[in-house]
Amino acid sequence: MVMNLPRAFRHFGLAGIAAAAAATTLLAVPPARAADRYITVASTTSTEQSGLFKQLLPEFEKASGIEARVVALGTGQALDMGRRGDADVLFVHDQVAEEKFVSDGYGVKRFEVMYNDFVIVGPREDPAKTRGGDVVAGLKAIAAARAPFASRADKSGTHAAELRYWKAAGMDMAKDKGPWYRETGSGMGPTLNTASGMNAYALTDRGTWLNFKNRGDLVILVEGDKRLFNQYGVMLVNPAKHAHVKQEAGRKFIDWLVSPAGQSAIAAYKIGGEQLFFPNAKPGG
């Protein structure tokens, strides 16, 4: 009872054409568009959504001939991608977690690249009276007023920073959160969309905020606190753990980022005349 294949094919005139079309389509899209000169960089939604990579990557490609493919996730997820060996380079912003990543042997060495800062945004009328230059006082005021606050809640670098600030304000959000504390579990942009829709407060990196268009009634309320400093670091995923890591191309990317050329490309990225990221690589890492 084996099906007569040639006959079946005659029956499948249309399907045959379709199959041929499929073959052509698949040929047009080779599985790994050349196993050659590209690296996969796991980075954060803040660097992607602020538009920095659109400026940075073409310059790196021109200088090196290497294509850098960026997958933008929260820092926690990006580190996990590195642990699984699905990225060659990590470009993230959670110093504590990054140092652990390296000391656990998943990363080779951490280089500081640039910084920007976090700000608290909220409704223009500022019902909780947070306005000023003190992040801890600002959060305390939000909690006291039980004013809506939108949290990333996605284990990203920004989320980790937010939890540190709450702790400094004497709150453990695992148990002290009330219905006013809204956990979106999503990226910076979606969280800002939520905050804008609910007229809620939120902690955001300045880069994403400057590039964010759906602000509604939100404005920056708290900024300039030294504790709001936000450092970005870059690491090569350890080839000793994952042999397929493209270490040569990956190292070139890291070397370029901390080189004068890379550093000045970062400094040159501006939105409306405002610089988003400040290069601060130290010679020798």
């Binding site: 007569n4 399907a15 379709a18 599985p31 960026v70 060996g85 699905d86 969309n193 804008s196 268009k213």
Partner: protein, 234 residues
Amino acid sequence: MFEIFASLGEALALIGGADPALAGIVVLSLELSLAAAVAGAAIGLPLGALIAVGRFPGRRTLIVTLNALLGLPSVVVGLVVYLLLSRAGPLGSLGILFTPAAIVVAQTLLVAPIVAALARQVAEDAWREYEEQLTSLGVSRLRAVPTILWDARFSLLTVVLAGFGRAASEVGAVMIVGGNIDGVTRVMTTAIALETSKGDLPLALALGAILILVVLAVNAGVFAIREWSARRHG
């Protein structure tokens, strides 16, 4: 309401501007969704027809399962494909995670059950109509499969289009396994999600309008082929 009209204007401006980056994204979306629709049909059509004409133990359970898979959550498919294709997963050595191939795999897994479940229904109706005739000619159930599929080809075309629609509108799984990499795996749906993330809602909606136009064009094309071929074959 005003925003939606403004977005339509922006969509027209985008199309008129013929931005090569946007064209690349549209073409990639189309290529990957068509590939997934064809692959899903290659799996789903024969499978659906076999279940329709076959008589074997567990057939009812299989039908219920297949119908339930119509509601397969795409994020779950994305996660499973991600774990399979990850370097730490069983198929990691292929190195196709975050490439267009990974997107086609995920989309195919979503399309195949839809095509199989709907084709099963169509083929079963056709089989009911021809069973007596075919059996009297001594045609076995298995050999009746191609005949039935061919006979119901026009209804099945709609089934495949439903599969294409599923692939083209997919965002969750595509985001997870493709990574939304600019110029490599960024398709219409993930580009819309990204612009939404940036709070550029008019641009996001304009991209959505273009995606709908593309899907509409594909459907119109298939409809025209169907009309033409129906007239030719009578």
